[in-house]
Amino acid sequence: MNAKKFLGATTLAFLLMAGAAAAQTTTTDYTGSTTDTTTGTGAVTDVGTPNTGAGGAAAENALVLGTAAALAIAGSVYLARTKRRSSAPKTAGLAPAVFLV
């Protein structure tokens, strides 16, 4: 893959991931009647109901996981290819010239 294309694709993917992450961190809506207060004896007498589910964020989480995995794989492949190219014997490029001689 062309390095410019790779960088462009990764930047775009990061923007998508950032959007998904931002969507995940929205503030939880207060679900109770009033906020906590303490009495003179120190007991919390009023409390809201808990938010005990996270399944609604499954699509966003899956998107982040998929994008991150794709990026990691693409990055690894790019690194492996460029490493192989740079470590390949330099004589390989001279082969046609040898034939000409």
């Binding site: 390095a3 790779f6 960088l7 990764t10 990061f14 991931m17 929205t26 503030t27 939880t28 809506d29 207060y30 679900t31 109770g32 009647s33 009033t34 906020t35 906590d36 303490t38 009495t39 004896t41 120190g42 007991a43 919390v44 007498t45 009023d46 409390v47 809201g48 109901t49 808990p50 938010n51 005990t52 589910g53 996270a54 399944g55 609604g56 964020a57 499954a58 989480n61 899956a62 982040v64 996981l65 991150a68 995995a69 990026l71 990691a72 990055g75 690894s76 790019y78 690194l79 460029t82 490493k83 740079s86």
Partner: protein, 200 residues
């Protein structure tokens, strides 16, 4: 030039791996809580709950639940805290302890960040008359029986009733139900299972 590109690719790959790992852990195992400290708060006015009487395990044979009990307070938004994972349940430590006068409250997650089952995924399957046990830190086993099961819209949950301090010894189990409220980042209903102490 090539080394710069390789370095950029390396950084991007590492960041992607870190994001993947963090998201996976957050979605499947770790549910961080933003609990706030309440100065001088105690579980029951004028009545400290000894450590041995505090709950350590919740057992519901009908649902095959045998869960560790965490102790939680309140979050910054005023709601009851939740367990920091999807397999434990959590006791509201500023309310009565199980077995004491009043309603003790235990909550648990219905699902995790990838929609896989949480500890209370099947709480709706419980029936009136089913047994619920709480083991205290001191080893005492408290026996409760389900007396009522209710589903409330999440904005009109009768918290006075659920967190009642003057009622007989009750244990109320609560979890999310209904459908996901996109903007609210929560489910639109709460399932509450009311139980009463029969022995222990």
């Amino acid at each position: 030039m090539r080394s710069t590109k390789r370095f950029a690719a390396f950084i991007i790959t590492i960041v992607a791996v870190l994001i993947f790992g963090a998201t996976l852990v957050h979605a499947l195992w770790y549910a961080p809580d933003t609990e706030i400290a309440v100065p001088n708060a105690s579980s029951t006015p004028g009545q400290e709950v000894p450590g041995a009487d505090q709950p350590s395990r919740l057992v519901i044979p009908a649902l095959k639940i045998d869960a560790n009990v965490q102790h939680v307070g309140v979050k910054a938004d005023g709601s009851m805290g939740t367990p920091n994972n999807f397999t434990d349940v959590a006791w509201y430590k500023y309310g009565p302890a199980p077995g004491y006068q009043g309603s003790s409250v235990i909550d648990g997650h219905v699902d995790n960040g990838l929609s896989l089952a949480g500890v209370f995924k099947h709480l709706a399957d419980i029936k009136v008359g089913d047994d619920v046990y709480v083991q205290t830190a001191g080893g005492n086993m408290l026996h409760f029986v389900v007396s009522d099961i209710e589903i409330y819209p999440y904005k009109s949950v009768p918290t006075d009733q659920i967190f009642n301090r003057t009622d007989r010894a009750r244990l109320n189990l609560i979890t999310c139900d209904g459908t996901w409220v996109k903007g609210g980042d929560t489910y639109n209903e709460r399932l509450v299972v009311y139980t009463v102490l029969v022995s222990g």
